[in-house]
């Protein structure tokens, strides 16, 4: 079952990169970045998953050697990654708006003043 998660996560990352490479619409590029990011989040959360584990929320008295919980570290990483993903989206959309203002288009093939 967890294998499906891994496959799905790498599929999402691949799909995101595919969108970035092949789509000429700036907004779709941003969507590609987000999809790749979701893939990474899925991967992270799957790594920390233990079948049958509970949420890693304990007080000191509850914690003993029999407690069985999912790995909390990847969850922390995932939270961070989600925040960063949101920032990327915000920043890139801001840039897209500016680009549209300046170039009058959101077609990547026409936004190439810097080249060579």
């Amino acid at each position: 079952m967890i294998l499906l998660n891994y496959i799905a996560s790498f599929f999402l990352i691949g799909l995101g990169f595919y969108a970035i490479v092949t789509k000429y619409n700036l907004v779709k590029t941003v969507i590609g970045l987000s999809i790749a990011d979701y893939g990474v989040n899925l991967l992270l959360i799957s790594i920390g998953f233990n079948p049958g584990g509970t949420a890693p929320i304990f007080t000191w008295s509850e914690l003993d050697y029999n407690s069985f919980f999912v790995d909390p570290v990847p969850q922390a990483l995932t939270l961070t990654s989600i925040v960063i993903g949101a920032c990327v989206t915000a920043m890139s959309l801001a840039l897209v708006i500016k680009l549209e203002e300046q170039y009058g288009t959101i077609d990547t093939r026409k936004i190439r003043r810097l080249r060579g």
Binding site: I13, G16, F17, I20, V21, T22, K23, Y24, L26, T29, L33, A36, D37, V40, L43, L44, I47, D71, V73, P74, L77, T80, S81, I84, C87, V88, M91, S92, L95, V96, K98, L99, Q102, Y103, T108, R109, I111, R112, R113, L114, R115, G116
Partner: protein, 638 residues
């Protein structure tokens, strides 16, 4: 009293250095409305960071200590590192010192350089955020923390690239950088996640302990991902167009940080993963990867630079070309090679910083960086010109400046490697490095002719020298360029050799954090053998004596017998030789130089021009292809 002593213990200095920059950033965001407050806060935080790092020199370099610092004193429990750690060995210290110096000088320069921009508050906030990100990354002892810092610095760098969003192409450059940079960051995160799945730790020292034990498909994949991820930060081929775009638009003080320091953080990451985490994967093949990509960056970028006619864009390509030198030398895997590479890293930060600041000074005064529109500024900006020439001589390796000392070591290291291993590939690397050097010189001859010498365009007749603050910032860099060039023995003894020794001493790095380092692969460092001799101080002395003698003879003769020809039409004396015509402005544009060379290579240049299409999809495709190739390489060869 004891508590105060505890707070002031050097153990805390790494985190203080990072916090100084971040705190400065936040304080400026909150209270930086007034210019004076803002400037003082910015200067204070960069100075504090420099001070804390310099104070670390004694324990880390002289006493050979490795500072391990657990945030919140959360030491490892049950043999696993839970808390976030900072670990400062000589290598981290080395890079941190580079960061601190560049950040300080660039900060001083910013004060007057940015005075004509609005939103200065945001500028300083982002600038210090960028600096803090780089500082945090090189001092971190935790892979995920490195990722966070990489994200912070990428963000700040992207925002600063777009800071002057009215500049041609600024937003475009920022967007391209953001897209490919974020692909790189995603790679780093995936690599980190895979490593975590394998070893259940994020601490670098513990990873270095555990990762070599099980090399399997997953760790190979992780290596490829991390390598490409840090590659995007170092802008090595195929990510060099991003650097060129970003530098062209970013303010010069930011270019100093992006080129001098941010790329170094990528190199630092690559050194850490290649030498510390995956050193058991087969260094021979890893050497090939590093040296191949390094030489490719070196050569491709220098030829690309020859085709440019924008001052800053040209400098950006050179920046990556020099990073190629660093990567190549570091990839040689010998003590001399790593030491030479790190030496070149210092020099690159210094001379490239100086050159970018000079470009910024030109932009500040003339409003353009187009080589075809400039010329003859030496008469208007004599100090900037002199400082620029120091930088230009340094980067093209003219003795006795610093570029020569490190390149000299790189040639030796690569040729020695070639002779020792009998591998003809390294011989080729030596030749490429030497040719790249002369092409670099050509490129800077072009810049000096098109910007500082030649004829002054009439519309630049009112240009003035830049303010003393900017000149003194450039002066610091120039002075450091000369010092590091004249005393290579001191630099290698106190900076690069300890750092190189740290690279070859993975065991200490692991054990300093309290883990078991006995399984670590100890690399054969080899000694420092110089096949040649280079003594810059004596050389300079001899040159000065010769120059003095010649000057005395010349002055005793009639060398000073000068008459200045102001305007041919006015002075009767020369009218005989003119048909009465006016003296016209005729300056050879930067683009038209070196025709004979470009003509012979026209196919190559045309191909390169087509390849660097400027479409973000193409650059993303390069990133994906690079990732695929490195993955294949690491799965099959490593």
């Amino acid at each position: 009293m004891n508590m105060l002593g505890n707070i002031l213990s050097y153990q805390h200095f790494p985190i203080y250095a990072i916090m100084a920059l971040f705190l400065g950033s936040f304080l400026i965001a909150a209270f930086g409305e007034k210019r004076s407050v803002r400037n003082i806060l910015a200067l204070l935080s960069v100075t504090a960071a420099l001070g804390f790092i310099l104070a670390l020199m004694k324990p880390v370099v002289f006493h050979g200590e490795i500072i391990s610092y657990w945030m919140g004193a959360r030491e490892p429990a049950g043999g696993y590192a839970i808390g976030i750690a900072l670990e400062v060995d000589a290598l981290s210290f080395f890079f941190a010192l580079l960061v601190a110096v560049a950040v300080f000088v660039s900060g001083v320069y910013s004060i007057q350089y940015m005075n004509r921009d609005d939103n200065e508050k945001e500028y300083y906030t982002l600038y210090l955020l960028l600096c803090g990100g780089v500082m945090g990354m090189v001092l971190s002892g935790d892979l995920f923390n490195m990722f966070i810092m990489v994200e912070i610095l990428t963000f700040a760098a992207v925002a600063l690239t777009a800071f002057r969003n009215t500049v041609r192409g600024a937003v475009e450059a920022a967007f391209k950088y953001l897209v490919v940079g974020c692909m790189g960051s995603t790679c780093i995160l995936v690599g980190t996640a895979i490593l975590y799945a394998q070893t259940h730790t994020l601490n670098l020292a513990q990873l270095a302990q555990l990762a070599p034990g099980d090399v399997n498909t997953a760790t190979r994949l992780a290596f490829a991902l991390l390598f490409v991820g840090f590659g995007t930060k170092a802008f090595i081929v195929p990510f060099h167009p991003l650097a060129a775009d970003a530098h062209g638009a970013a303010p010069a003080s930011v270019s100093v940080i992006i080129s001098g320091v941010l790329t170094k953080s990528g190199i630092y990451g690559i050194i850490r993963i290649c030498y510390f985490l995956f050193q058991s994967m087969g260094l021979g093949a890893m050497q090939f990867l590093l040296v191949f990509i390094g030489s490719l960056s070196m050569f491709v970028c220098v030829t690309m630079a020859l085709a440019q006619h924008d001052f800053k864009r040209l400098l950006a390509f050179h920046s990556i070309s020099q990073i190629g030198y660093v990567l190549t030398a570091v990839g040689l895997c010998t003590a001399l090679g790593v030491s030479a590479g790190l030496y070149h890293a210092i020099n690159h930060t210094l001379f490239k910083g100086l050159l970018f600041l000079a470009a910024g000074a030109v932009l500040h005064e003339t409003g353009t960086t187009d080589l075809n529109k400039l010329g003859g500024l030496a008469k208007k900006m004599p100090h900037t010109t002199a400082l620029f020439m120091v930088g230009a001589f340094s980067i093209s390796g003219v003795p006795p400046f610093n570029g020569f000392a490190s390149k000299w070591m790189i040639y030796q290291a690569s040729y020695q490697k070639a002779v020792e291993s009998g591998n003809i590939g390294f011989l080729l690397v030596t030749i490429i490095a030497l040719i790249t050097s002369v092409l670099t010189l050509a490129s800077f001859v072009k810049v000096s002719h098109s910007v500082f010498f030649g004829q002054l365009p009439p519309e630049l007749a009112n240009v003035k020298e830049v303010s003393w603050g900017m000149r003194s910032a450039m002066g610091i860099f120039a002075l450091l360029c000369i010092i590091t060039g004249l005393f290579p023995n001191l630099v290698t003894a106190y900076l690069t050799e300890p750092a190189a020794a740290a690279v070859f001493n993975v065991k200490n790095y692991i054990e300093a954090m309290g883990f078991d380092g006995s399984a670590a692969v100890q690399l054969e460092a080899g000694g420092f053998q110089h096949a040649g001799v280079w003594d810059p101080v004596s050389w300079l002395l001899v040159l000065c004596i010769a120059l003095l003698a010649i000057t005395i003879v010349a002055v005793a003769g009639k060398y000073g017998n000068v008459s200045r020809c102001r305007a041919p039409a006015v002075e009767n004396k020369y009218q005989l030789f003119y048909g009465g015509e006016e003296q016209e402005f005729s300056q050879l544009g930067g683009e038209d130089l070196f025709w004979g060379f470009k003509h012979n290579w026209r196919g190559y240049f045309k191909f390169m021009h087509r390849l660097h299409s400027g479409v973000v999809n193409d650059y993303a495709l390069w990133a994906v292809v690079d990732l695929a190739l490195v993955t294949l390489f690491s799965l099959i060869v490593l």
